[in-house]
């Protein structure tokens, strides 16, 4: 039967551009998404979301509370029904993007899938309901898990011990540098400098500076690697440590690491490993065996605990024997068949102190331990192998369509740049925005800084070949569009609920606080 309005099913596809292969190659299409005002702009005076029994006659609720806790007037509080509140947050959640929605190849960030089994275990009442102030006699299960995870991480990375408490990778770095400083102070001279290659994460110089060190930037070679002669030239008796990410942020394995560690150790310096990319090596090679003295593990990357808004992160730190006395407290020790928390500095007089309230991010320990036990040694090795395979598949499929600034073999991620697209006036940012129209989160852009217009792609081991093929098709379509119709890319993205945002204005004139009566654009 003909539709009286003239609508035909083909119109939907044409409008979305899916059939034409222009966009939507990872399944993006149009959908009905609701506009939603701020919660403060909704409701009506007197509306209420809960039903409470009436107060007994003569009762005065205000007299039941200490006067200091009473507020004379509450201005601007939204008064809403339960349904309005539910719709508000459901609608906001529909604007969101996560690994559970689609592909998320954010280089360096390692946005891998977080298994639901790990989530379920972390929600077991015995774990979820545990209180950190319970006496250790009532927390033996939690302490046992922390102790076992500490042993497992130390074995996996090749260190005698690991600090569990740091809350995320950056705090792990900070704690690592605190221990390095304490080590040098104990030997009579804290030293003044830390060496950092130009491919490093920005947190490395920040961690050094927070510990009172000045940083010396080391140039990487034309092959994207740090070379021993560069380190030897910069190394002297005033260098406290070198900070190296391996593989580095170009995804390239620092194959001279053992020689570099020897050069630094010979002059009394220590070698810090940024474990942000440990997911490329887990189960295959051990940083402790390469000459690293200390390294943070990002449980939220390598061991698949949630992060990026869904966190919190967790950044335990593996240490060599020479740093064990300086580890922050508390640490878990096993005595006979029971477990104990060491909290008294008298027991560890050289400790750098306490760096985090309570014991660390316990929920993340549970998830990481669940993953390690689920995968086992063979499975963890497969994590690294598949991460490397997936990244190299994308690299091989996109080579020629995008410029590869470094020809050196890469591991778990690959960095392209926009050199070929720039001939048509199309930049990395335009490519990133167009990917959204296809239904992918963009890769990391404009990092590392040694590559101008960097597009840093990290698929992770949890993606299927089908998804990678869709991503490759989308990236190739964008490259083709860049030469055929560059203006279309400048206008991307078209499909998401909010099109291209004015990032410049947001950075120059940020509006960080809503106030009553404010006009919201």
């Amino acid at each position: 039967m003909a539709n009286p309005t003239g609508w035909k099913p083909s119109m939907e596809k044409e409008a979305a551009g899916v059939d034409a292969g222009i966009v939507g190659l990872l399944g993006a299409t149009r959908g009905l998404v609701m506009e939603e005002p701020l919660v403060f702009e909704q409701g009506s005076p007197g509306r209420i979301g809960v039903s409470l029994p009436p107060l007994p006659a003569g009762a005065d609720a205000a007299s039941e509370l200490p006067a200091a806790l009473l507020r004379g007037e509450i201005a601007g509080m939204p008064e809403m029904s339960e349904l309005e509140v539910v719709r508000h947050f459901t609608r906001l959640s529909q604007w969101n993007w996560g690994i559970d929605t689609g592909f998320y190849p954010l280089g360096s960030c390692t946005m891998k899938y977080n298994p639901k089994s790990s989530e379920a275990l972390a929600r077991l009442p015995g774990f979820a309901g545990a209180h950190p102030l319970l006496p250790t006699s009532m927390s033996q299960g939690a302490l046992e898990l922390m102790w076992k995870l500490e042993r497992a991480l130390s074995e996996i990375a090749g260190f005698p011990a690991s600090v569990m408490s740091p809350a995320a990778g950056a705090q792990g770095e900070l704690v690592g540098l605190m221990m390095i400083r304490a080590y040098h102070v104990a030997r009579g001279n804290p030293r003044h400098k830390v060496l950092i290659p130009d491919t490093a994460h920005g947190t490395n110089p920040a961690s050094a500076a927070f510990n009172g060190y000045s940083t010396v930037q080391l140039p990487s070679g034309p092959d994207g690697r740090l070379h021993p002669e560069t380190v030897a030239k910069a190394m002297d008796d005033d260098v406290a440590a070198i900070m190296i990410t391996n593989p580095n942020t170009l995804g390239i394995f620092e194959s001279h690491i053992a020689e570099i560690a020897e050069i630094v150790h010979a002059r009394g310096g220590l070698v810090y490993g940024d474990g942000a990319n440990f997911n490329a090596l887990v189960g295959v090679a051990r940083p402790g065996d390469m000459g690293f003295d200390v390294m943070q593990y990002n449980l939220h990357k390598t061991f698949a605990t949630p992060h990026g808004g869904g966190g919190p992160g967790s950044g335990p730190v593996g240490v060599a024997e020479c740093l064990v006395p300086f580890m922050p407290l508390p640490v878990v020790v096993k005595e006979g068949e029971s477990y104990r928390l060491v909290t008294d500095p008298a027991e560890r007089p050289q400790t750098v102190g306490k760096v985090r309230e309570f014991w660390g991010n316990m929920g993340m320990f549970i998830r990481a331990w669940a993953l390690i036990r689920e995968l086992g040694p063979e499975g963890l090795r497969r994590v690294a192998e598949l991460a490397v395979l997936n990244a190299n598949y994308v690299r091989a499929e996109l080579k020629g369509h995008y410029n590869l600034p470094y020809e050196t073999d890469t591991l778990h991620e690959v960095v392209f740049d926009d050199k070929l697209q720039k001939e048509h006036g199309v930049t990395t940012m335009d490519v990133a925005k167009r990917l959204i129209d296809h239904g992918s989160h963009p890769p990391t852009v404009y990092f590392p800084l040694v590559v101008h217009g960097a597009l840093m792609i990290e698929p992770t081991e949890t993606e299927s070949k089908e998804t990678l093929d869709q991503f490759v098709a989308a990236m190739r379509a964008i490259a083709a569009e860049a030469s055929a119709d560059p203006e279309a890319l400048k206008a991307a993205p078209q499909k998401p609920f909010r099109a291209r945002l004015d990032e410049t204005r947001a950075a120059r004139k940020p509006v960080l606080r809503w106030t009553p009566g404010m006009k919201v654009e």
């Binding site: 940012m429 852009v445 404009y446 101008h452 990032e503 410049t504 950075a507 120059r508």
Partner: protein
Amino acid sequence: MNVPDDLKYTRDHEWARIQGNRITVGITDFAQDQLGDVVFVELPDVGDEVKKGETFGVVESTKAVSDLFAPVSGKVVEVNAPLVDAPETVNEDPYEEGWMIVIEASDPKELGELLDASAYRKFVEEEQE
């Protein structure tokens, strides 16, 4: 790419306008183009000492954060304070309104080490390769 002939340049993409021992400093047209939209500028205080080749401030764009390097050593005698509220000036007019600081040079010999316009043009072309 605009590279005025009457200025001197560094390999870190700063320009220097020399008037006696007063050296006005900013970033080049090439630098602002590479950075993209500048959203934040951090400058030293008047009276601060700066050293040739060392950081005197920070410029941040939507793409990257970059250090600013002093072309000569000396004392900061003037700072372009309006840039803090209008960082876009660095993009719009890098050689005039977008100037950043004036240094009173302490060692005139350092001026001879700066690049002239043609040497800077050549340097940028080589870096682009």
